[in-house]
């Protein structure tokens, strides 16, 4: 398998990225880790005429805590976040989710911003961003703008990014005191695409549940701390709103069943962790 021909530009910085995106628009793709993009190039599902490689832009290769968020630059790999010594204290949901993201060898090179940009409905990093109410910072010649995750993800592989914009960084909110987090996923083999994934955050007054792999984008719902019976009903009702489809991997009914099971498990685990956090 060989990609169709394209021009390749190794970008120096964000300004050059914006300049070239303004010039080439939809003909251009940003190449970061390439772990999704080169796959689709190899299969010729995409045939851009220019690849703009941000992976060596040093100013975009960073992970830092700022303003109550963990901010991850466009060139930072998933491994650089995963192997961060303080991650479990900063964004514990990411610590729970990383083992489900493909494999060690792919996380070594794949980027966080790249996964968010690709917006696969079954991908873990977009789901975590949506659950936590994170932000995506988009940069173009017109300037920077910040979108909340719920406005950024618009459908299957579809986002609010304009064709002249670079995802400069994404921001995951740091853990909230007294809140527990959990992540559950089912796939046919470890590291495969999720057939269904659930992320949960449980605090003193509220339950947040996010589901990936079922609807066309990560979908989040929030409830008060419901009693067990009402929670089961709420999860079931929510599962039915996701518009699950039959496909080669699983039936819609099976996906709804997975959502009920995984959501209940994630919420119970998160609630127990919240309990431990306040004790």
């Amino acid at each position: 398998m060989k990609p169709a021909a394209f021009d390749y530009v190794r970008l120096e910085d964000e300004a050059q990225a914006c300049e070239l995106l303004a010039r080439h628009g939809e003909e251009a793709r940003i190449l970061a880790g390439g772990q999704s993009l080169i796959t689709v190039l190899n299969m010729r599902l995409a045939q851009p005429s220019v690849l703009l490689d941000v992976s060596r832009c040093e100013a975009l290769d960073y992970v830092k805590v700022a303003g109550g968020m963990l901010e991850v630059g466009a060139a930072a790999t998933q491994a650089s976040v995963e192997w961060r010594p303080g991650l479990a204290g900063e964004v514990p949901l990411l610590t729970c989710a990383f083992p489900y993201i493909s494999h060690f060898q792919v996380r070594n090179r794949g980027t966080v911003c790249g996964s968010v940009a690709h917006a696969d409905p079954s991908a873990e990093l977009p789901l975590c961003l949506a659950l936590l109410g994170g932000e995506v910072v988009l940069s173009s010649r017109r300037g920077r703008r910040t979108l909340p995750a719920r406005d950024f993800f618009q459908g299957m592989l579809t986002t609010a990014r304009a064709s002249d914009e670079l995802i400069a960084c994404v921001r995951y909110p740091l853990r909230a005191a007294g809140t527990g987090y959990a992540f559950e996923e089912f796939s046919l083999r470890h590291g495969d695409f999720a057939i269904a994934a659930c992320a949960a955050a449980v605090g003193k007054d509220a339950i947040r549940l996010g589901v990936g792999g079922v609807a066309d984008r990560p979908t989040v719902v929030q409830w008060p701390r419901l009693p067990q019976r009402e929670l089961e009903t709420a999860i079931n009702d929510f599962a039915w709103t996701l518009g699950a489809q039959d496909d080669a991997h699983a039936s819609a009914a099976y996906r709804r069943r997975l959502v009920r099971q995984l959501a209940a498990r994630a919420i119970a685990t998160a609630a127990a962790r919240a309990q431990g956090d306040t004790a």
């Binding site: 398998m1 060989k2 990609p3 169709a4 021909a5 394209f6 021009d7 390749y8 190794r10 190449l31 390439g34 772990q35 080169i38 796959t39 190039l41 190899n42 299969m43 005429s49 220019v50 690849l51 490689d53 992976s55 491994a79 192997w83 083992p99 493909s102 494999h103 060690f104 060898q105 792919v106 070594n108 090179r109 083999r189 470890h190 590291g191």
Partner: protein, 162 residues
């Protein structure tokens, strides 16, 4: 449509400076095999699933089929050819032979490169950690058990010697 111009790629392959030419679209896996003649790296699925083409780029285990040759310009690439020193198999390779951790050997080059990176970062892994790392590789011969044993054996003997 873009013009298919080629460019010089300079990299350090297994400690030696090498250079070759590549179109922008040439994958690192093809560059290693066809341009530099380093055919130890095998090519399986070409979409990042099977792990056969795994090499180390600046020390980090990565899929060479999901990397462009132009992206390693100026970087260090290590492949299975670099594991043996002076004609003697490295400790990982010896352990794979001792434990019968390969049969046909197609997947082995990639697995060895993953293990080499992994054991530097996780020198004393649990069996679960080893299996998790190996989940990024498909082996249809061994059933993985002897591979896990070989990796744990290398970790134990390296720890004994330090």
């Amino acid at each position: 449509m873009s013009t298919e111009k080629t460019q010089r790629i300079r990299c350090t392959l297994n400690g030696r400076r090498r250079e070759g030419t590549a179109e922008s679209r040439m994958l690192l896996s093809d560059f290693l095999r066809h341009e530099l003649g380093a055919t130890g790296t095998h090519v399986g699925c070409e979409h990042g699933v099977c792990g056969a083409c795994t090499v180390r780029i600046d020390g980090v285990a990565s899929r060479s089929c999901l990397t462009l040759a132009v992206q390693v310009d100026g970087r260090g690439v290590d492949t299975v050819e670099g594991l043996a020193r002076d004609g003697e198999l490295g400790d990982l390779q010896q352990a794979f032979r001792r434990h019968h951790a390969l049969q046909c050997g197609f997947c082995t080059a990639g697995i060895l490169m993953s293990c080499a990176d992994f054991l530097e970062r996780v020198p004393d892994p649990t069996e679960q950690q080893v299996r998790d790392m190996l989940s990024g590789h498909l082996c249809r011969c061994t059933g993985y058990t002897p591979i896990v044993q070989a990796v744990l054996d290398v970790a134990a003997s390296r720890n004994k010697n330090t």
